[in-house]
Symmetry: C2
Subunit: 201 residues, 2 copies
């Protein structure tokens, strides 16, 4: 009980050359994930790992080394997209825009619709953001909570909705868009977001 806290464990200092290699590998991985995201969104999930490598400008071995299966690449694309949304949420939270909640939710819906094929494939194999990337999911929900409180103060959001319900509604909006399969499914998202505003009868 009275033990001193354990010393923080520092990684051993890497030689410069090793560090450069690791940074290089990280950059290659990022290029692969970005290329895969673009190709899946525009060409569909039939794209081969070799095509992803070509688009990313790396050798096929690099892709296969980082992502032994297509599913591993889906997961990386999806988690990368969520990390980007967390970054956008962080930027929005740093402003004092009272409507920032709706900006963030619109971005989440637009991003989800763009990556609907990857998301559907992951959901078919039981992927759930809340278990696969719990910290990102938690951080994103926390930003939604902050922005919801701010929107409420400005009377821009209804009083009786929780951040957890909003996350469920975003999942519902993406499902509605996939169900409709229409060219401009973002209108469905806009209708759902309108339901979050204060309701005047």
């Amino acid at each position: 009980m009275n033990q001193p806290p354990p010393e923080p464990i520092s990684p051993p200092a890497a030689p410069v050359r090793g560090r450069e290699l690791r940074a290089d590998a990280r950059r290659n991985r990022e290029r692969v994930v970005a290329a895969a995201q673009q190709l899946f969104a525009t060409e569909g999930l039939g794209v081969s790992l070799d095509e992803v490598a070509r688009r990313a400008g790396v050798g096929p071995g690099t892709v296969h080394r980082h992502f032994p299966t297509k599913e591993a690449l889906y997961l990386a694309v999806s988690i990368d997209q969520i990390a980007q949304l967390v970054a956008e949420a962080s930027t929005l939270t740093a402003t004092d825009d009272p409507a920032a909640l709706f900006t963030l939710l619109s971005r989440m819906i637009a991003n989800g619709i763009e990556n609907i094929l990857v998301k559907s494939a992951l959901s078919a194999i039981g992927f759930d953001l809340r278990t696969a990337a719990p910290e990102l999911a938690h951080t994103l929900t926390a930003h939604v909570e902050t922005l919801l409180a701010r929107a409420r103060t400005a009377d821009l959001a209804r009083d009786d909705v929780t951040p957890r319900e909003i996350m469920a509604l975003i999942a519902g909006a993406l499902h509605a868009a996939a169900y409709a399969g229409e060219p401009s499914p973002s209108h469905l998202g806009a209708i759902i977001l309108d339901g979050l505003r204060p309701q005047v009868r």
Copy 2:
């Protein structure tokens, strides 16, 4: 081209005894479907076909004869539920209640939430109401269209939403409810329905 239309084909008149038997088989099937709906909704999908038979008050052979697999029973339950919704929609269309659209949509959501396990199981094996029961789906959408027009005339519904979008939003509401997994997910449905009302900014 000028041939007379073919004679309508009448089924041969069945002897009274045979007709009674068929009516009896139909009643048994209905009891099995109703019992299965209740058991799946309250006990989950782990319920055995034998338990369904016991609840329905029929022999196990009767259940197995009508429904060789659990999936066949899921499908029958789901289609039966939709047929009931079509009947409710028809009743609502026959009234002149301007808010009947929202009554119907609330019923669709409540019914879908009650049967969410069956719906999820069917959706996991690629079931889609629009292809599995196209006539019921079409009739239900037609009722939504009629009630939407009526609600608009009374300024109770927004102008820029189509019946097809509403069907997608209902699917989205059910997905949101399943995602939230909360005890009273109907609140999510209410929020989505609020988005369908005229929007005042």
